[in-house]
Symmetry: C2
Subunit: 291 residues, 2 copies
C-alpha cells in the first residue's frame, strides 16, 4: 500500500508521522506551497515529496486530501484523471456535506472509491489516532486498511455527506452552547448573579444528559411554543438592559418564533411524548417557510 497525501500542512504531517511510527512504509505527498520547512519535515519522517498532484494519484492506493475546505474540490478535480481505479480517495477536509457530495460526484467515473471523512478533534496531539467519522463507498475499506495502524474510524451510514453533517451539527450544538453560556453569564455577571443562575439550571437539569435535555425541551416547545418564544424575547431585552448585545438570544428567539408560527399553522404534534414527533412535525413544513 502507498499512502498519498495531497496537502502537506500541519494536520497531514501529524497524521503521516503517526502512520510512519505505526509501520506504514510507503508514503508520498504533494503540496502546492512547498517550502524549506516543509521539505525538512518531510525528510524527518521519510516522506517523499512529489512535484505534482497527478504524481500522487499515479502512485497512491490510498489518498488523503488535507488541503483547505475551499481547495478540496479543485484538488479532487486535479487528481481525478491520475487516480488508480482501485484506490480509495479519502477527503479529510472540513467541508459541508454538499461539498463532500460534489467531490464524490466528480470522482465517480474514476473507479476510485470515495470516503467522506470528518475529523472530530484537533489533529496534532492525537496524530493518526484522532477520531474520524467516514461515509461513502470507500468508508469500510478505509477502516479495514487503516485500523491495523491505529487509526480510529467510525463508519456512518447514510451516504456521502453524513459524516460531515454529524460533525457540523455537533459543532452547532457544542459551540452554540458555548456562545449561549457566554452571553447569559456576561449578563448574569453584570447583575452579580452568576452563581445563582448556574445553581438554578443545575438544580433543574443537573442529572440529564444533553440528549435527554434536548428531548425534554423540544417536547415542552411542542406544548408551549408560543409562550416560550415570547419569554425568550423578554429575556433578550434583559440581556440588552444589562449592557450586552443579545446576539445568541435574539437568534434563538427568532428560531422559537418560527416554530411557534409553524405550530400555529398546524405543523405540530398532538400531545408529543418525544422530541422526534416535534421535530418531524416541524420538518413537514414547506420550503418557503422553512427555518
Amino acid at each position: 500500500m502507498v499512502v498519498g497525501f495531497i496537502g502537506f500542512g500541519e494536520a497531514a504531517f501529524a497524521i503521516a508521522s503517526g502512520l510512519r511510527e505505526a509501520g506504514v512504509e510507503h508514503m508520498v505527498a504533494y503540496d502546492a506551497f512547498q517550502n524549506d520547512a516543509m521539505k525538512a519535515r518531510a525528510e524527518q519522517i521519510g516522506m517523499q515529496l512529489l512535484d505534482s498532484v497527478q504524481a500522487v494519484g499515479e502512485r497512491a492506493t490510498l489518498v488523503f486530501s488535507l488541503v483547505t475546505p475551499t481547495a478540496a474540490l479543485p484538488a479532487a478535480a486535479d487528481i481525478a484523471p491520475a487516480l488508480q481505479s482501485d484506490a480509495v480517495y479519502a477527503d479529510l477536509n472540513s467541508c459541508s456535506p454538499k461539498r463532500k457530495q460534489e467531490i464524490a460526484a466528480l470522482l465517480s467515473n474514476t473507479g476510485a472509491r470515495f470516503a467522506g471523512v470528518a475529523v472530530m478533534s484537533a489533529v496534532p496531539p492525537l496524530r493518526h489516532r484522532v477520531p474520524m467519522l467516514a461515509d461513502g463507498p470507500g468508508a469500510h475499506l478505509l477502516k479495514r486498511w487503516m485500523e491495523p495502524y491505529g487509526m480510529r474510524i467510525d463508519v456512518v451510514e447514510g451516504g456521502v455527506g453524513a459524516a460531515a453533517a454529524v460533525k457540523m451539527c455537533r459543532s452547532v450544538i457544542v459551540k452554540g452552547i458555548e456562545a449561549l453560556f457566554m452571553e447569559a453569564l456576561l449578563a448574569a455577571s453584570a447583575a452579580g448573579v452568576v452563581d445563582d443562575v448556574l445553581a438554578s439550571v443545575d438544580a433543574s437539569f443537573g442529572n440529564m444528559t444533553l440528549s435527554e435535555l434536548a428531548n425534554y425541551l423540544l417536547v415542552r416547545n411542542g406544548q408551549h411554543g408560543q409562550r416560550r418564544a415570547h419569554e425568550l424575547l423578554d429575556a433578550a431585552e434583559t440581556v440588552s438592559s444589562l449592557g450586552h448585545t443579545p446576539w445568541v438570544t435574539r437568534g434563538a428567539a427568532e428560531r422559537l418564533a418560527w416554530s411557534a408560527a409553524q405550530q400555529a399553522r398546524g405543523f405540530r404534534a398532538e400531545n408529543p411524548q418525544s422530541f422526534r414527533e416535534v421535530l418531524e412535525a416541524l420538518s413537514r413544513t414547506d420550503g418557503e417557510s422553512m427555518g
Copy 2:
C-alpha cells in the same frame, strides 16, 4: 394580615385560592378588567373585589402585584399614595431587573418595603407553592410571613433586580438551548443523522452538569476563541445548505466572533483554569465594544 392583589387574572386567582386553603383569612383584590367570570371566581374563594387600586392599598399589609409586565410600573404608581407605611409590596410580574428597580424607586418614599419577586415556574399547577425568588428590602419579611402558608420563597442577595436577573438569564440558557437543539436537529434530520449527532454529544459531555459544561466550554473559548468562531461560521453554512435558516447558529457565531476580537485586543486570561477568568476578562471590555 390582609393580602391584597392588584391584578386578578389566572395567576393571581391560582395563588389566592391556594392561600385561602392554606388558611389566609383576609384577602382583597382589584382588577381593571372585572367581568362576570372574574367575579364568580372571586366569590368562589371568598375574595373581596374592590373598586379601585387605592382601596387595595388602604387595606392590605401585603400587596401582590400580578398585572402584566407593561402595567407593573403604572400600577405601582397608582397604588403608591394609598400604601400603608408598614406594608410589603411584592411585584411578581415578569419584568426586567431595570423595571423592578424603577418600581422600587417609585415606592421608596411610601415607607412600604419592596420585594422584587421572580416566579420561577408556571403558576396554575402549583398555585401559591410555585417556587419564587425574592430580592429587595421586603424579601425576608415576605418569606417570614408567607412560608407558614406553604409559599416557597428563596431570597436572592444583591439588591432589587437580582431575582429578575436570575430568572431572565436562566431563561436565556434554557430556551436558548431549546432553540439551538431545534435548529441543529432540524439540520441533522435533513441529513438523516439525528441519532449520530446526539450519540456524539452524549459521548463527549454525557456526564457533565450544565455548569460543568459551561466551565469547560468557556475555558476552551479562552484558549481557542478565534478558531472556534471560525468553525461555527462553517457550521452555520452547513445548516443553510441543509435547508434551514441558521438563526441561532449565526447569532452564536457573532457572539464568538465578538469574543475572539476582544481576546485579540488583550481582554483575555492567560492559560485560564476556570470560566470565571474568561468571563472576567471579557467583562473588562469597554462599553463601546461590549457584546
